[in-house]
Assembly symmetry: C2
């Protein structure tokens, strides 16, 4: 869950948040903030090309969404530089139920600190919600993102010492 998206100022950071979420194992990003169709289109294009499943949506009522999540037994981890140290926090997150990871936003309302099952500090220094999300997902998946497969990809990269090797996995009808 990405808080406080403003299309003009935040487009690139929110795009990076979404791409990181997809690359490191999240199934969706739920965005609180101003609706942004061009962001949605650009993320859809990435998923269509590189595989999924992954989706983004905009929340009409983010607080209701969080309350519903909790009432259904889901866990919530809020990433903030003020929270519990990552290595301590990660041991306290259970593997039962869905996990919602909340990232700010310039000013995060106190509601999210209180609603979260755990406030997690990926370092207690000012840096980046993009980096915080990547490291949190790395720890919570025990680094398994490196072996993760994406379905229905058109393109796949083959790791290469130097240069670029890209496999084309699917063709457009008009090319066949």
């Amino acid at each position: 869950m990405r808080l406080g998206h403003r299309p003009t100022r935040d487009k690139r950071i929110t795009t990076h948040v979404c791409l990181v979420a997809r690359s490191f194992g999240a199934s969706a990003v739920h965005i609180a903030g101003v609706r942004d169709d061009s962001l949605q289109a650009s993320i859809k294009k990435v998923s269509d090309t590189w595989g999924g499943p992954f989706s983004i949506d905009f929340l009409p009522n983010p607080i209701r969404f969080v309350k519903d999540w909790k009432s259904k037994g889901g866990q919530i981890a809020h990433l903030t530089m003020y929270g519990t140290r990552l290595k301590d926090a990660i041991q306290r997150i259970g593997s039962d139920g869905d996990l919602l990871v909340v990232v700010g936003g310039e000013k995060v309302p106190p509601f999210y600190y209180i609603a979260a099952d755990i406030n997690v500090a990926v370092g207690s220094q000012p840096h980046s919600e993009v980096a915080a999300l990547a490291l949190f997902l790395d720890r919570i998946t025990c680094g398994e993102w490196e072996n993760m497969a994406f379905t229905d990809a058109k393109l796949r990269i083959v790791p290469t010492e130097r240069g670029k090797t890209v496999e084309q996995l699917r063709f457009k009808k008009k090319d066949i």
Copy 2:
């Protein structure tokens, strides 16, 4: 080393790159691209408040800089989604000499792929140079950034379950 900085389009992403570099153990960021005094000022402000040592500078001749780095025995790791898998790459980076970590930029010239001792893929999916840098520095420091101390900080966060706890370590002369 951050390639291809354009002040208008890249300010926030380059800021995140610099803050991540500082938070996860780099001593400096060398920027190739258009000089940007406001970026330099905002990073200096963070280091003055939260501690250092950390600096950024703009390179008049990035290619010369890379050649000089190599001639002095420094290593170079270039982060790219096309490179060698992170877990394989990390074992091949020695601990001797200084390490330059290169991150793009939209289009990275072939020179950097060739000049690098190793091209490292922090995942072979499109995501973010901010996230790639964070995960690379995490692996290369074996997660030790979580215990890293910053010198001459004015403020320090005390990890807290809920809310914000900030210690003031130094005072301005006028406050005493």
